[in-house]
Subunit: 493 residues, 2 copies
């Protein structure tokens, strides 16, 4: 049926097309049915998508489409397209096969990923794929196919260097802002380390949110190459590079479901590194109560990462670290950046746990890339950090990205929380702490967050501060205090 | 945060609430996050829901909600509500437990179903639950919990009769309109048989779509009781009775995913029967190539249905029938009704396969309810049908529902398809036939559909008609002819 195009600025999860009820009936489609859309141009473009039905936004004989569909079809508002009912995509049967534990071929995984990228699969259908991976797992072969399929869906960057290093954490730990420190230390000795990071979706801040407090993080692949040519490193947002469209879409659904299937985690991390041309990769796997994984699961992940590295002929080393409590004191974009600067400046009140972990990771990466002898990496890292070279390199990178190291004012609203008796901190609840930071406004409100004065096993005396909550909004601060009072976040004996 | 209510006539899958980007940022929510909404009235109502973000329909400090949310909250357009970010619901963790194969308790299943009904879970999250049931299955205990939880989510009807009979088919076979015939035969001997049926979502027609060609099918529970008191039976649409809100929502997602987890199938059917107060239940399980299930799966289903019947202290009998090809000649609402009337009127050109199956099922149900002696049910059924009593009873039921048996004109557009040589039909592809009927306009276009002149193993001579395609739309007929030409639907040697 011939329909007139209308555009929607649609950002509700994945994009879809919309018909009103009467037009949907005429074509014979129900909400969530698949249709094929074909343009009328001389070389017609064709795509398939999922249909939503609403009488609010669409008139008779119109089809409202998302901007994403507009680009795929190369059409303008008011153009006509031809819309027909299509059978469900083959990828649904393939996902069904995985749901009952079948092993998928390279072609089958490619088929699913293509349908994810082309919007052929709906949000619920991608949720089914994520559920299937979570429920039945994927073996190394399938994971490698997944990585290969994802790599086809975006840009790649090449730096023409023999050694391209990278450092990654599987995440889940509040604070834990080692990346800018590790990158600055390693780039100081001449390593090429083009680091792309994420922005927070469910956490208090991603590394990109933290860097963004002092410098832009959105660059094209060409711009990234220039920054890296100048400084040997970068600290940019991976999302802006459009390297892995499929990965981005799948992760969005994962966050909705609060599911993190292992195969997708492996594929997501490894495909990002491979798209960046990295060949010496250090992966930090925090484990334990409150972390994403247990010790045994962490060991399993380590083995898989390293095996996949071999399959792609890259050096991959995983280190297991303590993930039972936050790393550093500042939880939030600006508060995290303050921690980083204190460590780089070697201030007396710097968070020593963050420094220790950053030195350990830097040492490992220096050894992996041959910049330090076995057993000497951490010493070299400490030397670079103490000398001020890392701070200098960090300033260089930030400047190359168009930013500047600066001091921050405090958030407009804050609340100190005090101990009402002498306590010893037994546990800090990572997930609740992250949720608290989001109530405060993280990561959108850069100044929002939590400052932790102590870590586990430390003593707090009656009347001393335990935490300070920060927010740019008084009402959010109020909500956060209520949440803090009702939930056990800092647990003492 | 205090927001102003705006309404959306939203029918895109499950209802959600919408904020614009700026308001979403202020509250700190991302698309698909969960929020809690509280009214400001003296006895405030509270619910939680999933957030979508769009700048098209919502202004700053507004929240656009679906009509469903409006009813839950008892609010009017322009009212203010208080919206806050809430942690993900506990049911997500429970679904996750099922995804990795855990056994769920009665409380846990109740928790999921409550969150489905209250819109706490998003479409993608319900998709995860459906995927989990499909991937890991549920045992009899869990299925019984699911039935109990579903029964709590809607109306129940009681007929105050010792024996309340029902007949159900698990579906998937084109045509197969035995229900109106079986109900008419059984009600003729005084059985109480209040039959509620579905409307088509992915098939050419549900029994309700077929009955709707001559009578209304949407009644309240009170109205159904009156119809049944008058005639002993009814042929109504289950959806209008609002008996199982949870079931309706889950089925909607299942159709999207093309998944049909066994536990949900068992629970969906059994909870509908129990809500109707049925205690003698015959279930038709078509099996074989082209049907929903294989023979071994059908046996497994039979055992489970009968075991669940025992758990609820009801007589349940399952019969396995041939599901490899369509039953009857008319595929579509009006075409299906014509078949039914031909059988009830005992016309010479009636579809004998449909009659045979209807007599078999009627016989089984008459024996199960003690209306016929063992081995004599089918004879009694044939007697009733031949005598015209079944036709009389059918007319009575239709009249009690406000309808009238009538003759139909033909569809506006039709196309005969002929054999181009002498052939023997080897197979009729059920799924493609159903898809063909949907292209033609089924079930919305009541006159659309397919007439089959022959079944499997029958011979068609060169130049004889194989099928006739019907549609009220010339363009849909054209599309359907193209689909018929490209896909193997009637397969001959």
């Amino acid at each position: 049926m011939k329909l007139k195009i209308k555009f929607l600025k649609w950002s509700a999860g994945l994009p879809v097309a919309m018909l009103n009820e009467s037009t949907a009936k005429k074509i014979g489609v129900y909400p969530k049915d698949h249709v094929s859309i074909k343009t009328f141009s001389s070389s017609p473009r064709k795509t398939s998508t999922v249909i939503d039905v609403s009488n609010d936004f669409v008139r008779n004989n119109e089809i409202a489409v998302s901007l994403e569909l507009k680009e795929i079809l190369g059409i303008s508002s008011g153009d006509y397209v031809f819309v027909t009912l299509t059978p469900p995509p083959k990828s649904l049967d393939i996902i069904k096969k995985k749901l009952i534990g079948g092993k998928l071929s390279q072609e089958e995984i490619q088929n699913i990923i293509s349908d994810v990228v082309s919007n052929t699969l709906s949000e619920a259908e991608i949720a089914m794929f994520v559920s299937a991976m979570y429920s039945k797992g994927m073996d190394i072969d399938e994971t490698v196919y997944l990585i290969k399929a994802m790599l086809k869906t975006g840009n790649k960057i090449s730096f023409n260097k023999k050694i391209v290093a990278d450092k990654h954490s599987i995440g889940g730990i509040p604070g834990n802002r080692t990346t800018p420190i590790v990158v600055s230390i390693c780039a100081s000795v001449g390593l090429t380390i083009p680091k792309s990071s994420s922005k927070a979706i469910t956490s208090e801040a991603g590394t990109s949110d933290v860097i963004e407090t002092i410098a832009p993080v959105e660059f094209s692949p060409e711009e990234v190459k220039k920054i890296v040519a100048k400084t040997g490193a970068c600290l940019v947002w991976g999302g802006a590079l459009e390297m892995l469209t499929a990965d981005t879409k799948i992760i969005q659904i994962e966050k909705t479901l609060k599911l993190d299937p292992e195969a997708q985690l492996l594929a997501s991390i490894m495909s990002k590194k491979l798209a960046m041309g990295s060949n010496h990769i250090l992966i930090d796997i925090p484990f334990g109560d409150g972390a994403k994984v247990s010790h045994s699961k962490a060991m399993e992940l380590k083995n898989k990462f390293e095996l996949i590295g071999k399959k792609f002929n890259k050096k991959v080393k995983c280190v297991l670290t303590d993930g039972t409590q936050p790393i550093g004191n500042g939880i939030g974009p600006v508060l995290g950046m303050k921690d980083i600067l204190k460590v780089l400046r070697q201030d007396c009140d710097r968070p020593f746990d963050l420094e220790k972990k950053a030195l350990f990771l830097s040492g490992e990466l220096l050894e992996l890339t041959g910049k330090a002898k076995k057993g000497n990496g951490e010493n070299l890292a400490r030397e670079i950090l103490s000398s001020g070279k890392a701070l200098e390199k960090f300033a260089q990178i930030i400047e190359a990205q168009g930013g500047k190291i600066k001091d921050f004012p405090e958030a407009d609203f804050q609340k100190d929380i005090f101990a009402h008796k002498d306590i010893k901190i037994k546990k800090i609840h990572n997930k609740r702490l992250i949720f608290l930071s989001r109530i405060l406004g993280c990561p959108t409100d850069k100044f929002a967050g939590i400052y932790l004065y102590n870590h586990v096993n430390e003593h707090v005396k009656n009347g001393q501060k335990i935490v300070t909550l920060y927010s740019s909004s008084e009402s959010r601060l109020k909500e956060a205090i209520e949440y803090y009072d009702n939930e056990k976040i800092i647990i003492s004996d």
